[in-house]
């Protein structure tokens, strides 16, 4: 391209680009006001675990299935005294949910692991309910649908 050609090409492509951004200026933004408008939830979200102590038969299958051995179960069948997951090591991979014969361990919807106070340790004991980020969230209704095209 000659000298004038480059100038013309520069101005023309700039104009094309700016026409596009002009059109974008008038389209509705796709972002949402996060805390007020809820974020999207997948029905199979792999967030913080949810555990029903009374159903657990302490068969250690989930502890064996965990790649990082971060589950610790103490206590006899149907009377588990301690079911502790160390969230410093947990990968949130969901391998502990599959082998459970009585389906007492699920991964919930709580993915936001921030907390306002400096809590010692990252272990949650689900039987006693101690530890950080303890929430009563249960799995979202399967109907939590997908975000529609904006």
């Amino acid at each position: 391209m000659g000298y004038l050609g480059r100038i013309w090409h520069g101005v023309a492509t700039t104009a094309v680009g700016m026409k596009l951004t002009w059109r974008h200026f008038f389209t509705k933004p796709t972002t949402i006001q996060y805390p007020e408008e809820g974020a999207y939830f997948s029905p199979y979200e792999r967030g913080l675990h949810e555990f029903e102590p009374d159903k657990c038969i302490s068969c250690q299958l989930c502890a064996k299935a965990c790649p990082v051995d971060c589950i610790e179960i103490v206590g006899p069948k149907l009377a588990v005294t301690k079911y502790e997951i160390d969230y410093a090591k947990c990968l949130f991979c969901g391998l502990c949910v599959d082998p459970c014969p009585v389906d007492c361990i699920h991964m919930g919807q709580q993915y936001d692991l921030t907390s306002f106070e400096r809590v010692e340790g990252t272990k949650i004991d689900f039987v006693k309910g101690e530890g950080p980020w303890r929430t009563a969230r249960t799995s979202a209704a399967p109907g939590a649908g997908l975000q529609r095209e904006v």
Binding site: T14, M18, L20, T21, T30
Partner: protein
């Protein structure tokens, strides 16, 4: 503004005889300067908000809308946050130069407003060589940036400064020459006179009055973008290459001063473009705007035009990638400079042939 205060001063006998003669003049200047300083820094803050909102909408997001109604007080929040931030001075830094640099950049950006007409008669200091003064004062920024770059003892700052020097100095030329086209046709450097000559219908504005000034406008605007280190020419503080260019090591309020100076500079060039090329406070209909109410209307019209130019600058910034250093130089010396010289020659010929006016 200052002679208005001067006149006010002379009416009151009590003030007249008790206080030294020159005081009226100096308080006039001081009042004018503080008014300009407050107005411009407030408006520079609003430009920050304007930029982030426009950029947001261009990028399909919302932009700041939490602090104050629709986010209008965002710049106050930013200012407070920056003030609260720790003020780090690098260990190897040349301390004194490091501390002074932001204030020199700030001074360069704000001193240029001294001769800028905000409306008919609303001129802090109505100089006869107004345009010449402004263009030369605003190049003090380069000195400030060099001091900042050298003093912070970081390799990124050094590279940022070298780019800054190369770019600012070379783009002063097309900037000055393209504004010369208007001066040649207008015959005066005094900005108020330049604007007064555009008081007729819309085609009496300089930009439409001759092909030279039409081309001159585009060159002036591009060169202004480069002189402000904005949009495709933001090489001195290119995030992706030089981390943050010359103000990499600056934190806290010192960084806020750089930030404010940049947006004040943006406001300055937007005002200058509308004053030089687009009829300042005239609205394209020949009515007399020198009366009290007309003056206020003129003030608003001038702000409207500069807001338009500011949004164009912002619009350009968010839709173009960044040039490389040698391409910026090529654009200056091979494209803008020759064409601006041609524009001045054409303007001169036009004056020769048609006797100007």
């Amino acid at each position: 503004m200052k002679d208005y205060i001067d006149g006010l001063w002379s009416k009151h006998a009590f003030l007249q005889d008790n206080l030294p003669v020159g005081l009226g003049y100096t308080t006039g200047i001081l009042l004018a300067c503080t008014a300009v300083l407050l107005l411009v820094s407030l408006f520079a803050g609003e430009i920050v908000w304007m930029e982030r909102r426009i950029a947001g909408r261009i990028q399909a997001r919302i932009g700041p809308n939490r602090v104050g109604p629709q986010g209008l007080l965002q710049f106050l929040a930013d200012g407070l946050k920056l003030m609260a931030k720790e003020d780090i001075i690098p260990s190897g830094a040349d301390r004194m130069v490091f501390l002074i640099a932001p204030y020199i950049v700030f001074a360069g950006a704000f001193a240029a407003f001294a001769a800028m007409p905000f409306g008919y008669g609303l001129v802090p200091a109505d100089m006869n060589f107004g345009l010449f003064f402004m263009l030369s004062i605003s190049s003090i920024e380069v000195v400030g940036v060099i001091m900042a770059g050298w003093a912070s003892n970081s390799k990124w700052s050094i590279l940022g400064t070298m780019r800054e020097v190369a770019q600012m100095i070379s783009y002063e030329m097309p900037l000055a020459i393209s504004s010369l086209t208007v001066v040649v046709l207008a015959g005066t450097l005094n900005l108020t006179d330049i604007v007064q000559q555009q008081s007729g219908w819309i085609w009496s504005w300089w930009v439409f009055r001759s092909p030279a000034t039409f081309v001159g406008f585009f060159i002036f605007f591009t060169a202004a973008l480069a002189a402000l280190k904005r949009a495709p020419f933001d090489l001195p503080e290119a995030e992706s290459e030089l981390v943050a260019g010359f103000h990499t090591e600056y934190t806290g309020f010192r960084f806020a001063i750089f930030f404010l100076a940049e947006y004040a500079g943006m406001f300055f060039f937007a005002l200058l473009t509308s004053v030089l090329f687009f009829g300042g406070w005239h609205i394209g209909v020949p009515i007399d705007l020198s009366t009290g109410f007309g003056r206020a209307l003129g003030f608003l019209v001038l702000f409207g035009k500069s807001a338009a130019f500011l949004s164009i600058m912002i619009w350009i910034r968010w839709s173009l990638p960044r040039y490389r250093v040698d391409k910026v130089m090529y654009l200056c010396y091979k494209v803008l400079l020759p064409w601006s010289v041609v524009a001045v020659v054409v303007a001169a010929l036009q004056v020769l042939i048609t006797g100007g006016r």
